[in-house]
């Protein structure tokens, strides 16, 4: 597939034929199920859009039965920005219901296959976007990352996925899961494309009260793989990962050293605490955000005997099992008698996690960690909810601390599947993040 950088040079006619070609290829690969449907807006470069980002006139459903029939009445800010940059929203990609999952198996549209091995999951929750890019069915895509939902599927499918600093990209028009953690980001074929797409979607937006009001300029025109950085590695953190992941980690360290970067060893708190702080925070926010789905104003309604019964029937039949579980958990941690012990405690631990990262970034420019403890899982392997939560150990602290991070393919496992690793930077240090990632990518290819 043509890269985003190359696509920027295409004429109007060439873009029309590129889209025709993409449509035909997508129709030829229905079993992959990366796309829910393929609509187009405008005459620009086609960008695949996760099913939780509003595009006017599209049925945007967050992979949920409860939103079937809903039509987006406005564009998300990122969509307005794409259109202004001569890019076209092109196709809705599959995802875990309300972005709550790590495999894309919980979508009401069925599972998406990993293009590199149809017995494996593409990761999640932005599994459709990752599979589309990896299968050559998209030039680039947008995903959203609440606890790793861009970076983990990127790693499982062998592509690049980037989560910006919290506040960097407007959340206006993003179907809310956990508002203090969600960020939209690029999923692309290489690091430079990710930087190009990031430049387009980032920036202050008065429509998002958590948007960062700052202008640090663009990064893609200043990419420099030759800047030498101090990069932290976290050996203790990696010991529980699979051998393939540990080998990839060693390989990346050697490559970064040979590229002239300085490597230092650091420690982070046991990631089991990240899991707890994350699942308490995310479910608490989700239960609040998902209270709006009551069958009255949009989506699917199941008529009950009275208003209360309508709420109950609509929600019980509209939400899938994992979403119901997280709503119940969220209500548990927020309910009287448990609020202080769970929700407040988690917010305090979140502060500790952020302080720990701040301390490391006082000394280093970047941190290198795995993205997932192993390569893509086979279908059904994460059917136990807690098992699935535990698989997020390497990605969620980044969201809890609001940091930017980028996942890129580093190695191939013995089973032939890609192994991705992530670089993490200090808040708003996206230039450093992309430079470091480009250095690693360039040296790996070299």
């Amino acid at each position: 597939m043509i890269t985003l950088k190359e696509a920027l040079k295409l004429s109007k006619e060439e873009l029309i034929s590129l889209k025709e070609e993409l449509k035909a290829k997508i129709a030829d690969n229905p079993e992959l199920n990366a796309y829910i449907d393929v609509l187009n807006v405008g005459e620009g470069i086609p960008i695949a859009i996760k099913d939780n980002i509003q595009v006017t006139g599209w049925s945007v459903t967050s992979g949920s039965n409860i939103l079937k029939g809903y039509i987006a009445p406005y564009n998300a800010t990122v969509i307005e920005k794409l259109l202004a940059a001569n890019m076209s929203p092109f196709g809705r990609t599959n995802m875990d219901e309300f972005a709550m999952g790590s495999t894309t198996e919980s979508s009401c549209y069925g599972k998406t296959l990993n293009p590199l091995n149809p017995n494996c999951v593409p990761g999640g929750s932005s599994g459709g976007s990752a599979a589309a890019v990896a299968a050559g069915l998209a030039v680039a895509a947008l995903g959203s990352d609440t606890g790793g939902s861009i970076r983990q599927p990127a790693a499982f499918c062998g592509i690049v996925g980037m989560k910006p600093t919290y506040g960097r990209v407007s959340r206006y028009g993003l179907g809310a899961y956990a508002s203090s953690l969600d960020q939209i980001g690029p999923m692309t074929q290489n690091v430079e494309d990710a930087a190009i797409l990031y430049d387009i979607i980032q920036g202050y937006d008065p429509k998002d009260s958590t948007s960062a009001d700052r202008n640090d300029g663009t990064v893609s025109d200043k990419l420099d793989p030759n800047v030498k950085y101090k990069i932290a590695i976290v050996p203790d953190y990696v010991k529980d990962a699979s051998e393939d992941v540990r080998n990839a980690y060693e390989k990346a360290i050697d490559v970064l050293k040979s590229a002239g970067h300085t490597i230092v060893e650091k420690t982070l708190m046991d990631p089991k605490y990240d899991i707890s702080a994350y699942y308490i925070t995310a479910t608490a926010e989700a239960t609040t955000n998902l209270a709006r789905y009551d069958g009255i104003r949009y989506g699917n309604r199941v008529e009950g005997e009275n208003l209360k019964d309508t709420f109950l029937q609509t929600r019980s039949k509209g939400f899938g099992a994992e979403v119901q579980r997280r709503i119940m958990l969220g209500n548990f941690v927020l309910s009287s008698g448990y609020y202080d012990a769970y929700y407040v405690k988690a917010q305090k631990v979140r502060s500790l996690i952020q302080q720990e990262y701040n301390k490391i970034f006082d000394e280093v420019d970047l941190i290198l960690t795995p993205v997932a403890p192993r390569t893509a899982y086979e279908f059904g392997a994460l059917s136990d909810p807690l098992e699935m939560y535990l698989s997020d150990i390497y990605t969620i602290s980044v969201n809890l601390a609001g940091l930017p991070a980028i996942s890129l393919p580093v190695d191939t496992a013995t089973n032939g599947m890609p192994v991705g690793l992530q670089l993490i930077a200090a808040p708003y240090a996206e230039q450093t993040l992309f430079n470091g990632a480009l250095s690693l990518e360039t040296k790996l290819k070299g």
């Binding site: 203090s180 099992a321 012990a341 136990d384």
Partner: protein
């Protein structure tokens, strides 16, 4: 922390959800397992740590109270709602 049937009923009420009989036992077991796991936070000392956490100190700033209503959005939302009439959402009767 063990979730029991009484607590499950309370959570269903708070969540406006009804877990079917055949899934109640499983739901109780899963929630109990997850809550038992997240209890590990009690191992960490958080003495003196602020109970509130904000990603940014500058968010939620004040702005001029300028109108910004796009009526077409209202109209579109109403036209796609499950049931609407005369620019209102229609709900089942709540007062006899």
């Amino acid at each position: 922390m063990q979730i029991d049937e009484t607590l499950l009923q309370r959570l269903e009420k708070l969540s406006f959800l009804q877990i079917p009989d055949e899934h109640r036992e499983e739901m109780i077991a899963q929630l109990s397992e997850i809550v038992a796991f997240v209890d590990n936070l009690s191992e960490l000392s958080t003495e003196g740590v602020d109970a509130t956490f904000a990603m940014s100190d500058t968010a939620t700033r004040l702005r001029e109270d300028a109108g910004s209503v796009d009526r077409t959005i209202n109209d579109d939302i109403l036209s796609h709602a499950p049931h609407s009439q005369d620019h209102f959402f229609i709900v089942p009767k709540i007062i006899e």
